[in-house]
């Protein structure tokens, strides 16, 4: 008889949290998720995928060890997926201290809770290709040296190593998934991909005229989030824990993403795109391209959705949403609450630090 397994997902309200919750429910898991209780609930992704009523939510905060302890005690999970983080790289330059408290120290707190409550819990840590940083070149795999280039990446570096430490010294089944960028229609609007597809959809429908961009030259390896969460699950089903790169193996520039998105909407991009230095990061990672050979051979994982298809999916979905909105339909969605960023003051505007 198959025992019902239980999973605890931190950051269940995010893109990956929502897709992973859906995947695990399909596999028959009981799913618990931690979330930060806010005055404006952030459940739209869970509603969008139709999983909101099938999961249990536990208020918890990565900066509060006791809340994590109670979450683990409540859920009694077989598997813990630590997806919670301050995940937006640009913002980490504004709040480096807070980033370490959550994205870095939060990992150690959660692992410490696992160690002290039930060492047989399998633990997934959301590591990131941002660890490789600027100037990595070539293809990056599990052996490539990390040179983190943002406070976000530095905090994730801590999380990566402390995860390995608990695996090697406490025998916990803990895995780092070094996931390259993974996108979807559930991506947050602060991320460049979704910002592009959402704005392209609005331009298509005549709601706005232009798309204002930062660095168009950055190249990234972009995959499709629903496929990437499958790799997370696979890592925890192996006989022994390890770290895996999850990527498509193709690098494309932001400019290509823009071009392809306008193309998918049947528009030319040159008339609509402007660049503004306020969207540049103090240091930007120039090139990332992952070699997921280990995930392919050991996990049997490989991506189906590549760049062109990914952009199409995202643009089509955003056009459809704005059309539904124009027809007056109600549905859970983020874009109506997200206006422009023109009135956001960044610390560099105030001259903090001598910007390089």
């Amino acid at each position: 008889m198959f025992m019902t397994r239980t999973a605890l997902i931190t950051g269940i309200t995010g893109q990956d949290g929502a897709y992973l919750a859906r995947l695990l429910l399909e596999k028959g898991y009981r799913v618990f998720g931690t979330y930060r209780r806010l005055s404006t609930p952030n459940y739209w992704r869970l509603h969008y995928l139709g999983v909101f009523d099938k999961i249990s939510l536990i208020p918890a905060d990565l900066t509060d060890l006791s809340s994590l302890y109670r979450a683990v005690e409540t859920a009694q999970p077989d598997e813990v997926y630590n997806l919670a983080a301050q995940s937006f790289v640009s913002l980490s330059f504004e709040q480096p201290v807070g980033d370490f408290m959550t994205t870095g120290l939060g990992v150690a707190r959660l692992l410490e809770v696992v160690r002290t409550t039930n060492r047989s819990i399998r633990f997934y840590q959301a590591s990131t290709s941002e660890l490789y940083g600027r100037g990595a070149g070539g293809m990056q795999n599990e052996q490539t040296v990390f040179h983190p280039s943002s406070p976000y990446a530095a905090a994730k570096l801590y999380g990566y190593w402390i995860t390995r430490y608990y695996r090697e010294h406490h025998g916990i089944f803990a895995c780092n998934g070094i996931l390259f960028n993974h996108e979807s229609p559930l991506r947050g609007l602060e991320f460049v991909t979704r910002k592009i597809t959402n704005t392209v959809a609005k331009i298509k429908l005549g709601l706005v005229k232009e798309l204002v961009m930062g660095n168009l030259e950055a190249r990234r390896d972009w995959g499709y989030a629903p496929e990437f969460v499958n790799a997370m699950w696979l890592m925890l089903q192996q006989d022994s824990p390890d770290d895996y790169v999850v990527a498509t193996g193709e690098a494309h520039s932001v400019a290509e993403f823009v071009e392809r998105a306008f193309q998918a909407a049947g528009l030319g991009w040159r008339d609509h795109v402007r660049t503004d230095s306020r969207f540049l990061r103090p240091i930007d990672v120039d090139y990332l391209c992952g070699d997921a050979g280990l995930a392919r051979t050991r996990l049997g994982w490989s991506p189906m959705v590549k760049f062109d298809r990914l952009v199409e999916i995202m643009v089509q979905e955003d056009i459809e949403r704005w059309q539904r909105w124009q027809r007056g339909e109600f549905f859970h969605w983020d874009a109506l609450n997200y206006e422009s960023e023109h009135n956001i003051i960044l610390s560099r505007d105030r001259g903090y630090g001598r910007m390089g």
Binding site: E112, P151, A154, L157, W161, M355, G356
Partner: protein, 401 residues
């Protein structure tokens, strides 16, 4: 970065003869300005030299003195972790160079300051309490002083204990680092920052510069320190701060804490010699370390902040020795055979990280090497216990005072 010839193969002659460590009548080279003037005046009375000559002498003296002090005249420095070994030596060095020094530590009550009193610098500093994990307190400490140079030495520094306290180590060593960098960025961006980093975050090998290294932190101490190193690079590149990390191997001295194996051995050998103890228990004596001399290392810290451009440097001697060798030498110095007294445990094999060469910092070389470090430490501990047995009181980490 110019490569320094490997120090691993050649014998390094100390730049200066190694001074005996005698803090009780510690000779300070040079005499004070006032006493020099008084001396001149006295000579003038005795030998009936004209007042003009004396005046010229005084002026010459004053001019040459200020020239010698030169560009460091009036600089200010803030040192976190002032109560530790490096904090004390660095304070001494900077005071000699004419800096105004403010020292911070978690606890600056008199009992914690034995090292500063030992070096005779406790009364020449401004001291204040600081908890590195308290962002507001760190901001205030930097904003109120806006120092020219900031040396961040505060850390929970015993790697072995971090296994029991991973969160605490991450808070002090990791969060503390970013608190400090953020405080400088927001309140005093001209401040030059030295960050104390460790070779324990590296995989070792024959690396000369950190660019050649793989990272392999193996305990929560080193993992938190790796974060501190990474975030320092980001503050330099992203925010343009002058941040320099010294990636240091172990560095020892008679001021080392008793939590560290070197001092445990020197103290144990001294006590056994004097019949105060029969056995010295150690962990894994095969563990190998690159041991340098702490006063050499604080000199490198200062030099790193005097460069034109900020950079990271590996600070090490390039020589590795085992705990067994240390014990052997230490007991031989007091005329004993270590095998009769040392009880070696299993412990973890992971000792230090071997560094092929002390890399790259222009104009810096360690001047005191293994043999002399052992000798200085054992002689000093023997001396202390002898004084203690005579009933003398002095600043020390054991016998009170």
């Amino acid at each position: 970065m110019p490569a320094v010839p490997s120090l691993a193969t050649e014998h390094v002659t100390p730049v200066h003869p190694v001074p005996a460590f005698t803090p009780f009548n510690k000779f300070k080279d040079g005499i004070s300005f006032t006493s020099f003037t008084l001396l001149l005046y006295h000579l003038c009375q005795v030998y009936r030299i004209s007042c003009l000559t004396v005046l010229c002498g005084v002026l010459y003296n004053a001019l040459s003195l200020s020239w010698k002090m030169g560009d460091v005249m009036g600089k200010s420095a803030l040192i976190t972790g002032i109560a530790g070994q490096d904090g004390a030596y660095l304070a001494e060095l900077l005071l000699e160079k004419g800096y105004r020094v403010c020292g911070l530590d978690r606890d600056v009550s008199p009992s914690q300051l034995w090292r500063l009193r030992y070096l005779g610098v406790a009364d020449k500093l401004e001291l204040a309490a600081l908890d590195m994990t308290d962002t507001a307190q760190v901001f205030a400490a930097v904003a109120e002083r806006k120092p020219d140079e900031l040396y961040h030495l505060a850390a929970m520094s015993v790697p072995a204990w971090s296994k029991e306290r991973p969160i605490g180590y991450a808070e002090v060593n990791g969060l503390g680092a970013v608190n400090l960098l953020e405080a400088v960025r927001c309140t005093s961006p001209h401040t030059r920052i030295f960050m104390a980093s460790t070779v324990r975050m590296l995989a070792g090998g024959r690396a000369v510069s950190v660019q050649d290294c793989r990272f392999a932190p193996d305990d929560p101490y080193a993992i938190a320190k790796l974060y501190g190193y990474a975030i320092s690079c980001i503050y330099r590149q992203g925010y343009g701060l002058f941040v320099a990390s010294g990636i240091m191997s172990n560095h020892e001295s008679p001021l080392r804490g008793l939590d560290f194996v070197t001092r445990r051995i020197s103290n144990g050998a001294a006590r056994i010699k004097l019949g105060l103890q029969q056995v010295l228990e150690l962990g894994n004596i095969e563990a190998v370390h690159d041991w340098g001399y702490a006063p050499d290392f604080v000199r490198a810290m200062w030099q790193m902040l005097q460069q034109d451009e900020p950079g990271d440097y590996i600070l090490a001697t390039g020589e590795s020795h085992s705990v067994r060798e240390f014990a052997q030498k230490a007991f031989a110095l007091v005329g004993l055979d270590w095998r009769d007294y040392v009880r070696a445990g299993k412990g973890e094999a992971s000792g230090g990280v071997e560094i092929g060469a002390a890399g790259g910092l222009p104009g810096w070389r360690p001047s005191v090497m293994f043999d002399d470090i052992v000798r200085l430490m054992v002689e000093e501990d023997l001396h202390r216990w002898q004084l203690h047995l005579q009933g003398k009181s002095f600043p020390w980490d054991i016998g009170g005072g």
